[in-house]
């Protein structure tokens, strides 16, 4: 029986176009439980950059809070990210979705010169300093690349994002839907998820491969 690994999962809202990608977030929790791990869920207590109608793709005239909307995925069991303490966890994982590029960071708005939420920055840099692994799904490796620079990771095949990642000083490895890229030095494990147009069962496989690699590493 493998050791039970305790994960922190950081969400960025609830819905692919303005928050966390829901399938990726759910399948992350599922993979952790299936592989004998446990988790707590966190999100920053801040206003979303905007609210998108997921049918039309248009902005809605509403304001929503990242923590409150993320709680939908967490079934209410969620903590504000400023309460995250790396001593309580052996691993950290970021599901994807545009929320990572609009709420956790400004990559989706500002491009390569983006900024990153200070709580996200602390979480990532403290985990790396403590030698604890980080899983980065979908678009979230962009945030890791910006923070760590000297790191090897993947967002799949999208050339414009790859160029941005390389311009931040990171090394990008192209990967297919169920493949993972591991940086053994920084302990970052990435998979493309919905950065590729993959069916949900392949998304699940990619995430499961990340979770298993993290557990093996711990």
């Amino acid at each position: 029986m493998a050791k039970s690994v305790k994960f922190a999962v950081i969400l960025s809202g609830c819905g692919v176009y303005d928050g966390s990608e829901i399938h990726e977030a759910t399948l992350t929790l599922y993979s952790i439980a299936k592989n004998g791990g446990t988790y707590e869920i966190f999100a920053p207590d801040m206003q979303q950059f905007h609210v998108i109608n997921h049918i039309t793709g248009e902005e809605m005239g509403e304001k929503r809070n990242v923590l409150v909307e993320s709680a939908r995925i967490a079934r209410g069991k969620i903590n504000p990210l400023n309460e995250f303490d790396i001593n309580d966890f052996e691993a950290l994982i970021f599901p994807g979705g545009f929320g990572a590029a609009k709420n956790l960071s400004t990559y989706g708005i500002d491009g390569v010169n983006f900024t990153i939420n200070i709580e996200v920055r602390s979480a990532v840099t403290n985990m790396v300093a403590a030698g604890k692994p980080i899983g980065a799904l979908c678009i979230t490796p962009v945030v890791i690349a910006k923070l760590l620079s000297d790191v090897e990771l993947t967002i799949g095949l999208d050339q414009s994002t790859i160029t941005d990642i390389e311009n931040m000083g990171a090394k990008h490895i192209k990967a297919g839907p169920t493949e993972i890229v591991i940086d053994w030095n920084k302990k970052v494990i990435a998979t493309p998820c919905y950065m590729l147009e993959s069916p949900i069962d392949q998304i699940a496989q990619g995430i499961n491969n990340v979770v298993k690699a993290i557990i093996d590493m711990v």
Copy 2:
């Protein structure tokens, strides 16, 4: 190689307390894909009964639309339920969440004398008349019990809901988290999901058992 079965999935919003339970909805799509099936997603184009803050459990002073919020789970690929045509599908499945008792029906507000959205009613009764199977997760068997009356199903162990179901003339069979109850005559397959306090990997197993039973039946 088993036949590829085409499912219609009916959602009721996005979030356990005022819409579809997100894990159940996502894991339903995952199970269908994993077992070689395909799906289209539907939801009624109507205002949600209310909007609940999923941290505090309190009502928020907002209005949201069931179809638009369900589109978050569907990644935008969703159809209004009034466009559902049973001829296009071999099976129908309802993920749970309070949306089934607040939007698809009024069970959560009116108790045993509740009413059911007319599009949901047509979908269920037409599927049964055509001899096509229906999966009912979590609280949604209450809606099926009300419509079909003479049917055998489960919502788990909750005695007050069981009494209501029996008062509608249906037969309730108690079931654990990964167990399913099949009505072979009406072709209804139910599992308790989050009507029990189960971990997400058991929720996934229960749903997978429903999806596999439906595929075997088709």
